[in-house]
Symmetry: C2
Subunit: 404 residues, 2 copies
């Protein structure tokens, strides 16, 4: 049998990260290529206690079919937290022009995929930062959307180039952004740029999809308001998750968007998985309301503050000055731009031969044939000792290649 | 802001079942409209024990990111069970013409949606039994596919009409079937028809999507081989889940299909939710290998054998002879065809006024504007007493309407 696959999937390649991720099961490899939360960051004892309580007092609710929108108490708790911590959530009852609502999704990636499905016909365009998160890019492509990149500068997307594209591209439906602790670049968009981006979205009537999986992981600098908190017109779909603050493996994320948008997204979610694992939704709710989520997040920030510092020290001490890397104030990633003399793919290959896995920058190109002379490093997954050793090895590889 | 949604979602209405499902939270309502496994059927104590063990011995694996394909030991255990119980799973190592592989998905509905996404471009067609499962129909529509119905007879789909359609419809990519304990009709396709259907698929080169969520729930009659067990050419994608045998709320299902097909489906799953909740995948694996899954399923069969008998007795004693209903040998559903004199929507409305919720047959029409003079009853969700009382009320409504 010769299979004839759909056009939108025939063109989609397995993610480069995912293939590298598989190689990471080898314990000899130093995993600078991963994006996993630190194994230290899971509150195992408390999750075990809450799980036992759920089986004891609400087993049928926790194991039976549930609502597509999510467990109502969790939706409420997330809404309250979004309002309190991020100024997110409009309500006509509070005098706003429209009402936002929150639903639970099976991890942030599903939220991004659903938002695209709700707005994009095949051939429509999603405008993205260049580089951008590979999981999102592939989610958009799987809906037959074109992913168009706009360069990402140190203070956020290039708004002049963005406006130029908005003027000419008539089928742009979504503007996808990771304004805080960007993946892969690790940078944060300034408040000024956030305001400018919002004004452009309003002017050109395009929806913004704001992805904020790392927003609670700031370990330096000052908080900057989310774009969603500026959303007076109902243009922003906000996506985040519990993956980086409780557990990634449970696949619990959430979306906050105007009710009219959400009614479409709920229909789209219903046909994908009916609802998200209800047991872990209940667990998240109880953790949020009965335990100290803020305190737990503070402990995760302390872990990443330390790990990032170890990596910064290692890179400063070992990388030749020709290699330029970002200095994140939160999140999980460092972006390193190589000098012209160093071929990026060869650098990745030689690093892996010496057991350090990094992600080639091409994996993050909105243009599938895009070029990159950069690589992404992650500090949350490896141990402190591995970070130190990995930086030494990367320095050796770089010096060797510069000397050739 | 006036939102412009994608064409494929703009046309998609929230499932009629889902809206009725919400009304079922009212405890006064007798829930003949649901499709939930019985609350008695969850092995709570054992699941609690296994969960505690997972937290104790493998917390990081259970809470960290995992592989898109699913937890390898669970994939292996499901493959072994499919081969042993259903004769499913080809392997070139065993001398077959191709090799099947099994992946874990977030409930059976995701499996159906992914299979469609892998094969259907917008405007392509999925041929379905008429009536068919609303969740599947909407999953196909959400991919922009047309759903084309072929009448379902007492021994399975009308194969003459099916061949006629296969001859004329050039864009048919999938043939979607629920051959065993059909939802909504409760009937089972004969072996003879299964063979005939497979031959037609081979002749017209169309993939079969065999949905078998209730396959383990036989409580009367003889087992009939799955269509997948007849699949010498690699034409069949087989979908099932743990929803009806362990827990629906955990959202763990699986697909078995030729490796070449699965490689596309894995890419599609990756962009939807990265992977399925890993904690409950581990739980399923341990339940399968350390506990008595067969014994547990036998106890569920006993529950449904009893509940179905209560409903059969209630319908026989209370419904006027003009109403014809199916007599299932397994699964969860009874299909009741009303006489011309009774308007179906009015029947559903009056039943609900008297606190019995049933599903209108139109919810299951592959043609969105299709007509139906039938309703679906479920016996797994209500208590035995509710089943008895519900049948009395339905009899009263029917007699009242026949007398008008």
């Amino acid at each position: 049998m010769e299979y004839k696959f759909s056009d939108k999937l025939a063109a989609l390649k397995p993610s480069a990260i995912r293939e590298i991720f598989k190689s990471l099961t080898n314990p000899e490899i130093i995993a600078f290529a991963a994006g996993n939360p630190s194994a230290e960051s899971f509150p195992v004892k408390e999750m075990a206690e809450i799980s036992a309580q759920i089986y004891a007092d609400s087993p049928v609710t926790a194991l039976q079919y549930s609502q597509t929108e999510g467990y109502p108490p969790l939706r409420q708790a997330v809404s309250a937290r979004l309002l309190e911590k991020f100024g997110i959530g409009k309500s006509t009852e509070r005098g706003d022009a429209y009402t936002d609502t929150t639903i639970i999704v099976s991890g942030g990636n599903q939220g991004l995929e659903l938002a695209c499905k709700a707005f994009c016909n095949e051939g429509d365009a999603v405008i993205c930062e260049d580089p951008s998160f590979i999981g999102a890019l592939n989610a958009f492509r799987s809906n037959g959307a074109r992913t168009l990149g706009v360069p990402l500068c140190e203070d956020g997307i290039d708004t002049d180039a963005l406006e130029e594209l908005l003027k000419t591209e008539k089928r742009a439906k979504l503007l996808y952004l990771i304004p805080t602790f960007h993946n892969p670049m690790g940078i944060t968009t300034s408040l000024e740029k956030r305001k400018k981006i919002y004004e452009l979205a309003k002017k050109y009537e395009i929806m913004i999809l704001e992805d904020n999986p790392y927003g609670e992981l700031r370990f330096a600098g000052e908080e900057i308001p989310t774009i969603k908190s500026l959303d007076t017109e109902g243009l922003v779909i906000y996506c985040s998750s519990f993956s980086k603050v409780l557990s990634a493996g449970m696949r619990i994320g959430y979306l906050c968007a105007p009710e009219a948008v959400m009614s479409k997204i709920i229909v789209a979610k219903q046909v994908e998985d009916v609802h998200t694992n209800i047991f872990f939704q209940m667990l998240c709710y109880r953790y949020m309301t009965e335990r100290d989520l803020d305190g737990h997040i503070e402990s995760i920030r302390a872990i990443y503050r330390r790990k990032c510092a170890v990596m910064m020290k290692g890179l400063e001490e070992n990388l030749p000055a020709e290699l330029k890397f970002t200095r994140p104030e939160g999140g999980l990633f460092v972006w390193c731009v190589l000098p012209e003399k160093i071929d990026m793919n060869e650098f990745v290959k030689r690093a892996l031969e010496r057991k350090v896995a990094v992600v080639p920058g091409t994996a993050f190109c909105p243009d599938a044939d895009g070029k990159s002379n950069a690589v992404r490093f992650n500090y949350s997954t490896p141990t402190d000792e591995q970070i130190e050793r990995g930086c030494v090895i990367l320095g050796e590889v770089a010096r060797e290649m510069l000397a050739e």
